[in-house]
Amino acid sequence: MWSLGNITQSVDAWLNEAFSPAIALLIEFVIVGTMAISLFAILGLVLVMMERKVSAYMQIRLGPNRVGPKGMFQTFADTIKLLLKEGLTPTGSDKFLFNLAPVIAIISAMLLLAPIAFAKDFQMWDLNIGVLYVSAISSVAVISILMAGWSSNNKYSLLGAMRSGAQIVSYELSAGLSILAIVVLVGSLKMSDIVASQETGWWLFKGHIPALIAFVTFIIAATAETNRAPFDLAEAESELTAGFHTEYSGMRFALFFLAEYVNIFIVCAIGATLFLGGWMPFHIGQLEAFNHVMDFIPSSLWFFGKTFFLIFVIMWFRWTFPRLRIDQLLNLEWKYLLPISMFNLLLATAIAIMGWHF
């Protein structure tokens, strides 16, 4: 069958034939890098548009509808505006850290794209500790937020950054534990193994109750980790005007904005990979005929469909829930989610050892 794996392999073979191995590798790096950056840009444009349209329909509005067909080019116009705007650096700020913070935010978001399997045989870096890598890199994002808040020399920014620090560090725990529940069931940290293990059904359905609990915990923790409502305390526009990025303008603000949306995409992609089978089509056990029909839908469609479904859910949260207070937010994590996910991990381990899952 037609597969992306064939294409990548033939390109690799051709490059190695035509050039020396070192140059071939360099060219491959450039190709992959360009693809990653363009994916990044496209994701930013698509997700911002999606958010605006989703919120518009939830709020009985039309949303952007002037620039281009159905307002599709609105985000392009916004990007151009942000590019042309002056990037102010406030006096009294720590200029080096102030300028570094958005760059770190965007780099950490970009690095996270590496281990994600976008389609069958289409993955930048299938490293053997894929899941661990993801949770490690995603914690780097908090540094950029703390940096931005501290260096802005603004009290709103500082408060927002401190909130964000407390929040992300706490929710990392239950996100990690809920990921571990699936890792225990799979027995591997490698992304491709996790996807391959779901050939007979997604973990959400195969993994009994622990997988369900882990999924719900993961979605909550993911929402919190990306600073989205109802956990958007770092921004909290009605309390802290704009939180940690109050002082940012122009392209530096755009970088934070873009990093936020790409982070949403990544956590949803991880969620889709772990619980909904990544690019794996919807398979039911040994029903060969049914599974075969499902295989005809391209794997990339499966992956993006699942991811965008999860993104929609997270946007849905944002436009319907009020915001939590900082103490309630931390209570939720330390008093409820963390004990639940610890217990859940034990349960998942028991199920994995006994082989009770499907």
Partner: protein, 371 residues
Amino acid sequence: MLEEVSVIDQGDMIINIGPQHPSTHGVLQLVVTLNGETIKKVEPHLGYIHRSIEKMCESLSYRQFIYVTSRMDYLSSHINNHGCALCVEKGLQIELPERAKVIRVLMDELTRIASHELWWGAMAMDLGAFTPFFLAFRERETITDIMEDTCGARLTMNYIVPGGVMADLHPDFQRKVKAFIKLFREKADQYNELVTGNIIFQSRMKNVGILSKEDAISYGCTGPTARGSGVNCDIRKLYPYEIYDKLKFDEILETGCDSFSRYLVRVKEMYQSISIIEQLIDNIPEGDFQAKTKAVLKLPKGEFYTRVETARGELGVYIVSEGGTTPYRIKFRSPGFSNLSALNHMAKGGKIGDLVAMMGTLDLVIPDIDR
């Protein structure tokens, strides 16, 4: 507050919320002393939108000054006008035709609903939920349309004149109001589902911003703010004006003393206003909409005071007349000012997020406080 001692310690942070800030709903400046996220002191600074309305009124005739008051509490401008007109009518001892009274009350209650609708949306937005704001505006828009038909304006209606109302009702009025009642009854359940029943919303509002009954009285709080603490203070019940004594409605009292009970009072008041409108809409008496008055009004020498229940609380209008065509002195007792004064007391020990929730439940309109 007599306990004005310095509370600022080492490590405390003083933060200015406003005059330009999304949650102060206007140009209010709060100087907040924080210890981490915990509030130690809130100091409201006023005067950013002071337009000396009271002084302006002294140079305007008794017909003219009423319209300036629309700009005080712009969300219940009709009720402001009503209070002023009542005061002038009291001085001149004008007897109003029944029809004028009913029209005034109908408009009052519509204004009250419109004001509470906007408050409800803004309240949810303060707590971080955007969608209710748009839902509230959908219903509020139908009211402003009704107002536009009859009064010619959508926000500052200027519909009331001494002796009645300026023009007769629009022929569509009854039909549109009935349509609105139907719409409201349908949509209000959605409100309760989306906001009132939401667990996050409740946990943000309950046991936050405690204002005991004694404190509410001693700070001079009125309106839904005080009724949320169980204080009987509905002017429509205590000192009925126009035809309120003939109408059946309840004074909503909640005894939770927290932000959530203040919220509930306002939500339930909307239903009470709807029931008042339902009682009146089919029984608007025929007749004149305005009593015969002289072209130039001159109040007799003396002092006159009336009060009305606006959407925010008790509005007192005090006119001192020397017998001329303009008032010698006018003083408004605005509800927002007294309600705001309780903020420091309520906010102490809370978090910044609580401060926003409390300010929301006080339903502040800054031009009403500053005048």
